[in-house]
């Protein structure tokens, strides 16, 4: 049961459906009645991507054509833009394999750029060797008619460092899933997300982290703002296996709902089988704080400006955690554009 198999076999019954517990809020089987045919090869030039000027290498996969491999040799540093581009109304799937060798560093700028009513699946395998470091920024700009599933399997090694921020405006249906196997060993993980959804957009940020060894760190903060008839989904699971003592895991998910017909579904889960761990999670879904809003207005800000300031500040706390300066400012500008619209 996978989107890749459904596309390959042109068989809708292989799509995940609400009967799968993990997909109950992102029911593709119920949405897609007839599987679209394969996307044609893209002819023509791609416009410049938002991060092209920052990086030394651009890997573009258009309509799923091609299999990409990104290797960073031991001790080296690479800045790579990975562009997953969808054009038209067909279905396509792509695979990306990323290996970051011992002590190497990868700054990954991953974008989803869509136009049309496509069905797109991207499967990523990201492996970090000992002491490797990756900052993965995902900026998902799907079209309102596009259906996108991105599934990343991340494996950490001792003393490695993986930091991720997903920033998304959703799609017709969109699922961005990250599964991390965390061996402990002072490896550290940051898994953040921002979803800003309007109209009928849907975004599903799903993460699963499995701590299997001693002394692992996970920090997770996701924030969302939904309005109109949009729907945000957050599913975060952290599993601390038996014996994974010394694990330090924090998960936060906070969402603002700005209209009556918008919806947020959240399922934060901590499954802890070890004794000596520090784990915490917080989850809030609500409206903008009316007291803070009045305070800002009393100081002179018109209502719309006060709302924008407080809302940007709300998601800004996630954006502030992006290490790389230019990336952080690009995401901040992206958020400001969407929140002031």
């Amino acid at each position: 049961m996978s989107v890749t198999a459904a596309i390959r076999d042109r068989d809708v019954t292989e799509l995940p459906s609400k009967r799968d517990e993990d997909w109950r809020w992102t029911d593709l089987r119920g949405l897609i009645r007839i599987l679209p045919g394969p996307s044609p090869a893209f002819e023509g030039d791609l416009a410049v991507g938002p991060f092209d000027e920052l990086v030394t290498r651009v890997v573009a996969i258009v309509n799923g054509a091609g299999e990409a491999k990104i290797d960073v040799p031991a001790g080296e540093t690479a800045w790579v833009a990975l562009r997953i581009v969808s054009r038209g109304d067909g279905a396509h799937a792509a695979r990306v394999t990323i290996n970051v060798a011992a002590g190497a560093r990868l700054q990954l700028f991953e974008t989803y750029e869509g136009e049309g009513g496509y069905l797109s699946q991207t499967t990523l395998a990201i492996a970090l060797a000992e002491g490797a470091s990756v900052e993965r920024l995902v900026l998902a700009a799907d079209s309102p008619g596009g259906v996108t599933v991105s599934q990343a399997e991340v494996s950490l090694a001792a003393k490695s460092d993986f930091a991720q921020t997903v920033a998304t405006s959703g799609g017709r249906r969109q699922r961005i899933e990250t599964r991390v196997s965390h061996p402990g060993g002072h490896a550290s993980l940051r898994l953040d997300g921002v979803y800003l959804l309007a109209d009928k957009a849907h975004a599903d940020l799903t993460t699963v982290v499995t701590h299997d060894g001693l002394d692992g760190v996970t920090e997770q903060l996701t924030k969302g703002v939904v309005r109109d008839q949009a729907r945000g989904v957050f599913q975060g699971r952290i599993v601390v296996a038996e014996g994974a003592d010394g694990t330090d895991a924090k998960m936060g998910h906070h969402a603002l709902i700005l209209s009556e017909r918008a919806e947020v579904d959240a399922k934060p889960e901590l499954e802890i089988y070890a004794d000596d761990v520090a784990c915490a999670h917080g989850n809030t879904v609500g409206a903008l704080d009316e007291d803070a809003l009045f305070y800002a207005r009393q100081r002179g800000m018109p209502e719309a400006q006060a709302r924008a300031l407080l809302t940007e500040a709300f998601v800004g706390q996630v954006i502030d955690r992006i290490d790389q300066d230019e990336a952080r400012e690009i995401v901040r500008a992206w958020a400001a554009d969407r929140l002031r619209a």
Binding site: Q298, R299, P302, E303, Q305, G316, Q317
Partner: protein
Amino acid sequence: MMLSVSNLHAAVDGKEILKGLTLEVPAGQVHAIMGPNGAGKSTLSYVLTGRDGYEVTAGTATLDGEDLLALAPDERAARGVFLSFQYPLEIPGVPALTFIRTALNAQRRARGEDEIAAPAFLKLAREKAAALKIDFEMLKRALNVGFSGGEKKRMEILQMAMLSPRFLILDETDSGLDIDALRIVSEGVNALRGPDRAMLVITHYQRLLDYIKPDRVHVLAGGRIVASGGPELAHELEAGGYERYEKAAA
């Protein structure tokens, strides 16, 4: 008359709290409003600043002859009405400097003035922070987040100093302050006294009025001003309590 309130009635959740309040504050003067808990002191400050949920059912309130009650909270602010909150709000993710600059420029735009340039703004902020003994680094932190009660009150006075309002309402500004903080805050407030400004100092205790000396003192009980007098009235209240006024109001 700068502030003129006449026969003001206001309700919260359908319950009448202000019941015919009349008050006049001329430019250049500081008036104190004292009263027992539940008398309507905070309601008065929220009605004058236009908070949602405070419904005016009768009466008028004007600032320099203009109908305050018809204006949105930010419009009142742009005309110079400032409320120092009893419990200043924490604004996560917004550095104090950003918040104040945004507010100041919004007010200036509303008045048809140019926005303040960044260097001039920072110079002003440094100057006012130093006078209030606020570490400038603190202004780079999210406004009021993790600040102590005294620090929050000092931030209110700093905002007041930077926004330079004409009509100031201080709602229980002394609550949560130790003597040293009370002195610093009071000096900050007194520095703003002037012939073109007026202040309404709302307080439960006489203590604050030793530092911010009022021209007039009013007793608010049962939603109305039940007595007015000179500064000596505050001392009488300190000695005799509010009981006889509460009985009179009931």
